[in-house]
Symmetry: C2
Subunit: 701 residues, 2 copies
Amino acid sequence: MAAGAFPAQAEDGYDLWLRYRPVSAARAAGIAAHARAVVVAPTAAGDARVKAAADELERGLGGMAARAVRAGAGPQEGSIVLALGATGPAHSSAAILGGLGADGYVIRSTLDHGRRITLIAANNGAGILYGAFALLRHVQIGGTLVNLSLVSKPRIALRVLDHWDNLDGSVERGYAGQSIWNWWTLPDHVDPRLIDYARANASIGINGVVLNNVNAKADSLTDAYIAKTAAIADALRPYGIRVYLSARFSAPMEIGGLKTADPLDPAVAAWWRERADAIYRAIPDFGGFLVKASSEGQPGPGDYHRTHADGANMIAAALAPHHGILMWRAFVYSADNREDRVKQAYDEFKPLDGKFAANVILQVKNGPLDFQPREPFHPLFGAMPATPLMMEFQVTKEYLGQATHLVYLGPLFEEVLRADTHPGEARGTVADIVDGSRDGHALTAIASVANIGADRDWAGSTFNQANWYAFGRLAWDPGASSRDIAAEWASMTFTTAPDFVAPTVAMMMRSREAAVDYMTPMGLAHLMGTGHHYGPAPWVADLARPEWNPAYYHRADARGIGFDRTASGSDALAQYAPAAARRLAADPNYLLWFHHLSWTDTVPGEGPLWDALVRHYDRGVTEVVAMRATWATLTRFVDRDRFAKTGDYLAIQEREAHWWRDACVAYFQSLNHLPLPPGSAPPAHPLAWYEALRFPYAPGQ
Amino acid sequence: MAAGAFPAQAEDGYDLWLRYRPVSAARAAGIAAHARAVVVAPTAAGDARVKAAADELERGLGGMAARAVRAGAGPQEGSIVLALGATGPAHSSAAILGGLGADGYVIRSTLDHGRRITLIAANNGAGILYGAFALLRHVQIGGTLVNLSLVSKPRIALRVLDHWDNLDGSVERGYAGQSIWNWWTLPDHVDPRLIDYARANASIGINGVVLNNVNAKADSLTDAYIAKTAAIADALRPYGIRVYLSARFSAPMEIGGLKTADPLDPAVAAWWRERADAIYRAIPDFGGFLVKASSEGQPGPGDYHRTHADGANMIAAALAPHHGILMWRAFVYSADNREDRVKQAYDEFKPLDGKFAANVILQVKNGPLDFQPREPFHPLFGAMPATPLMMEFQVTKEYLGQATHLVYLGPLFEEVLRADTHPGEARGTVADIVDGSRDGHALTAIASVANIGADRDWAGSTFNQANWYAFGRLAWDPGASSRDIAAEWASMTFTTAPDFVAPTVAMMMRSREAAVDYMTPMGLAHLMGTGHHYGPAPWVADLARPEWNPAYYHRADARGIGFDRTASGSDALAQYAPAAARRLAADPNYLLWFHHLSWTDTVPGEGPLWDALVRHYDRGVTEVVAMRATWATLTRFVDRDRFAKTGDYLAIQEREAHWWRDACVAYFQSLNHLPLPPGSAPPAHPLAWYEALRFPYAPGQ
C-alpha cells in the first residue's frame, strides 16, 4: 500500500497521553526484542484487570514497535509476564510485594526457567494494571526494556474524579462539551468511549469516579438510574475503577415519599439502608456516596437542626454493611453567617472532630474559599486529627480561564500538598494529612473535580489534559514533582524531542503564576464575574449576599485594598497552627489575602503597593505573550490540528489576559486615582466599557 | 509493518457515507487506471470549490483504490479533469452545459488530446464539486470509471439545513449532543470538524445552512456574533455553502435600543438595513434571514397589528440590495384563535398571496400540524400561486422516536413531495410547487431541520444519518426514489454486499410505517408527551391551551375517536382543492385526521374501527420486532461498534414500541371499554402505570 493512500488519522487529542505512535526503527527493534509476547501467569488468569493490562501492553508496545505484540503462554524468551502474588517468576520479589499493598507493582527484568523476561508482579489485578501502564509510560518517555527495576505503590488509597455531571447531560463548570455519561440510553447502550475513559484513568492510577454533580438530583437513587449506574460500573470495573454517586440529602422526601429527611428519624435511616441495599445488589463493589449538604442551598442536616456528623453518620450507616464509604463535603458557608466566609467551614467542622463514623471521610477543598488561582491551604488540614480528611482539587478551570487558557495546575496542586500545616513538626504537610500518615488513618482519599466532557479531546484543549494527568500522578504520589510530571506528559502527548519538551515544560510551569498575576495577584481572590466566573468583575458590589460580590473579597477603596484576616480583622489566621499562621502572614503570595494595606504602603522588594500590583498584572500579561511566542516556535514538533487549536487558544488567552489586567487596573485606579507606574500602559478602554460587557452564553453554568 | 500492529481505527460513524474504504484488488486496479491524477483545467484554477472537489477525489478515489491519487497538470492519460465552462475537453459538452444552470454537472469518459480522461465539467465551481461527489458516489456504490456519462442538475435552487442550535450550545429538538458551532471560541478558533460537516453537505448538494434556532436570540445579530458567523461562512464557502441566520423580530428593541419593532416604523427599517449592511460587509455571500414571527410566543408584526407581509417585506428590503433572501415561516397558530389549529396558517397566509416582496419565500412545513409521523400535505401548497413557497421538513425525529428509533424518513419525504395538490392537472404535486415549475417562480428552496450535533456519529445513530442523506438527495431531485436513496446510502455507509443491502433497505423502507402504526396509526397525531414529545401521553387533557393537549387531536371518548375536519366539523378539508380534498377524505391513512368515527364503525377491509386500530398498533410492534431480528442476521457485514449500537437502539425501540402500543390501547380502552380483538394481548400494565411515568431529563427540550 503506497504511502499517502489514506489521509493520516488526524491528531485530534482523543488519544490523550496514550498515543503509542511508532518510535524510531532502532528503538522499535529494542522494544520488539523484549515484547515478543504478553504472558499472563496462571496465578493471574481470569482477572479482568490483568486482561485489560495485557490488552494495553499489546496495543501500546505493538503501536510503538509498529509490529504486532500478541498474547502468549508459558515461559518465553523476551516475553512480558504478568504475575499475581509471589509465586513462579515473581518468587524472588516476595519481600517487595509484601510491602506493596493492593495497588503497588514491581517491574523487573529477570529470568524465568532460563529465559529473559520482563516481569510485572503485584498483589492483585489493579497492581498489574498500574504496572502495565507504568511500563508503557517508561517506554513512551524514552526508556528501554532492559535492566528494568521499577517499584511503586500509591500513598493514598482512593484516587477519585468527581464529575459535576447533571442527568440532563450538562456539566456544571464543564468546559469540554456534554457529559460523557449517556444517561438517556443507559443501560441499554454503553458508549465504547467509556472504555477509553477508563483506560486513561487507570493509566494514572485513578480508581474511583463520582458520576454525578454534587448538586445532585434525587433521581440518581431510583431503580432506573441505579441500573444505568450499574452499566457504567460494569464498563469501568476491568480498569480497577469503582463508581460512586452524589446523593441528595432530601432524596427520602423527593423519591421516597417521606415527609422528612431528618437524619435522626428512623424511617429516613431505613430509607437510606433500603436504597444502599438496592445499589449494592446491582453493584457489589459500589464505592459509596459523596454528599454536599447544608451548603449553597442544598438540603442537609441543618434543615433539622442536626449536625453534619448526625447527617453523615446516618447515611454512612447504610453503606457500612457493604463496606461503602461516605465522602462528606466540608465546603459550607451560610447566607446568615456574618463571619468571614473563609472561616466558616473550620468553625462548623472542627468541633465535630472525632464525631464521624469510621467510614466517613471529610472532603475538604484545597483552600478555604473556592478553587481560586491561589489560596492558602485549608485550615481544616491539620486541625481534625481524629477525622480522615480527603483533598478536593478542581481540575476543571472554573476560576482559571476555563477551557481556553493554558494553565498547568501541577504547581498549584504541588504547592498545596507540600504546604506545612505544622512547621517544625514531622509529617506536617497537607500531603501527610491526606495520606493518613500524620494521624494514622487507613481511610485515605484524594479527589478532583473532573474537566472531562464529550469534546473529542476530552478536556476542551490538549493542555487541559495535562491537568487531568497531573492530578492522577500526584494522587498516586503526592510528593512527586509537578515539573517531572509535566515533562512526562508532554513527552507522551506530543514528542520526546528535548527541543520541544524543555520549552513546553518551562511554559507550563510558569503558566499558573501567570494566571495568578493577570487575574488575582498578590493574594487577591474571587474577582471573577458572578455566576459564570468568566472574566473580571471586581466592581460588582450590589448582589444580595455579601460573599457573592467580588468587592467582599478585595475590600478596595480610595485608601487601600485587601482583606484583614489578622487579629485586627477576621483573624482567620488563628485557624492555623501558630507557626503556620506566622508563615502565611509573612508570605507575599498571600499579602492581600491576609492583610488590608494602604495603596501607598511599601511592599518589601516591590515598592509601593499600587505600583507593585500593576506590575504583577503587567507581568501576567507579558508572560502570556511569551507563552504564545514560545508555542509559535514549536510548529515543527506538533501535528497541524493540535498545534492550531493550541495557538488559537493562546491568542484568546493573550487577549483575555490584557482584558483582565486592563479591567482590574481601571477599576482599582477609579478608586485610588493614583498614576500608573512608569512604563505601564493605560487600560485600552475606560472602566465603563469593561463594566458593560455581558456574557449570557458563558459555558459551564 | 505487520498487520495488526495498530488496532484498526474503529468505525464510529464519523465518516458518514464518505468512508472510502479500500475495495477489492480488481476494482481498485480499475479505479487506479482511470484515476492516475486529478487535473484542474486552467479554466477552473483558483476556484476554491474546484480545489475542494479535487481534494475530495484524491481522498476518495485514493482511499478506495488504496493508493495515492495525486494532483496533476495538463492532458494526462487516465486522469480526471475538472473543467469550468465549455472549453478545452469540455467543448463537446457545450450543449449540455447550456442547460445545467449553476449547480449542474456533466461527467463523461472522453478523449483530451488523444488521451483517455474522465471529464467533470460544469458552469461553476459548485457544479464541479457536485460532479466530484457524484463520481465518488458512483464508485462507492459499485460503479466503474469506464464509459461514464452522467448528467444532473438540481430542481430546487436553495437546499438548506435549518439548525435549531442555541447560542449556549444546546440544540432544540436535538438528540445528537451539543451544537457543532463552537460559538464561545469563534471566531478565534474554527473547529476542523466544520470542514467535514461541509464535505458531507456538499456531497448531497446542500448549499445553505441556517446556523441558529428559529426561536432566535437577538444577540446573533450583534457585531460579535456576526464575526463568529463570518468565520463559519469562511469555513463552509469552499464547499458551496452559504450561511443564513434566524433573526429575532424584536431585535431592534433588544440590541438596537429602539422602543419598538413595528415594521412600519422607519427607524426599525433603518436598523435592519444597518444590520444587514454590517453582515454583508463581513460575509459578502451571506444567504439571508429565516424568521419565525408571531408564532408560539415569538415577537412579530402581529404585536403591532401589522400583517406577516408587512413584517417580512420590511426585513426583506434590508436584504434586497445585497441579493439576500428572507425565509418567512408560515408555522403560525394562536392561543386566542379557537379555529382548528391545522387551519390557522392557511387562514392567515392565503389572503397575503402576492403581497410579499420578490426576495421573500414562505417556509411551509410539510403538513399543517407539526412534523408528525404522518400528516396530509400542507394546504398552503398549491394555494398561493403568486408567492414562492419552500418546504420545511424535519430530519431530527422530534416526534418519531428521537435519537434511538430507527425510522427512515425517505418515504415520508417522498409521500409529501409526490402528493397531488391538484389531481388531474399537470404539475400539481407538492414538488412541482416547491421547484417553482407550477407557478413559474425562480426563487425556489427546500429546507429541513437538521439532526446534527457534536456526537461522534453526528446524528445520534448511524441510521439517523440516512435521514440527513435522504433529505439532501431529495432536495436535489424531489422526484428521486426514497428506496433507491436508501440503497445508495446503505451501500456507502456499510457495504455494497447485496445480502446486506437488500434486507437493510427493506427494513428502512418499512420503518416509517411501523412508527406510524405503533405511535399514531390511522391518521391520529400528536399523542406524544407534552413538552418533550417523547413517548405516549394521549390522556393529557388538562393543559391551559387546548392545542397543547393530545386529547385535542384525537377527540376520543366513550363513543368514538377522530377529528372531524369535514364540512360537518372544522372543514379543514375545504382548504384543499376539491379534487385533492376528495382524495384525502377517502384516504385510509388520514381516516382519523379528517373524520370522527364511532368505535364500532366499520373500516373498509379492516373491520370495526377499534379492532382495526388495535391491529395497527400490534402491527407496528411486530414490525419493530422483525427489524431487530433482521439486524441480528447482519452481524457479519458490519463493524463491531456500529453493529452493537444499532442493535442496542433497536432493543430500545422494540421496548418503546410496546410501550406506545400498550399505553395507547390502555387509554383508549379506558374510554370505550371494548374488548381487544382476538389474539391481541392486553397491555403489560394498567393505564395508571403509564400515566405515572415522568421524563424530567428527556433530551432536546
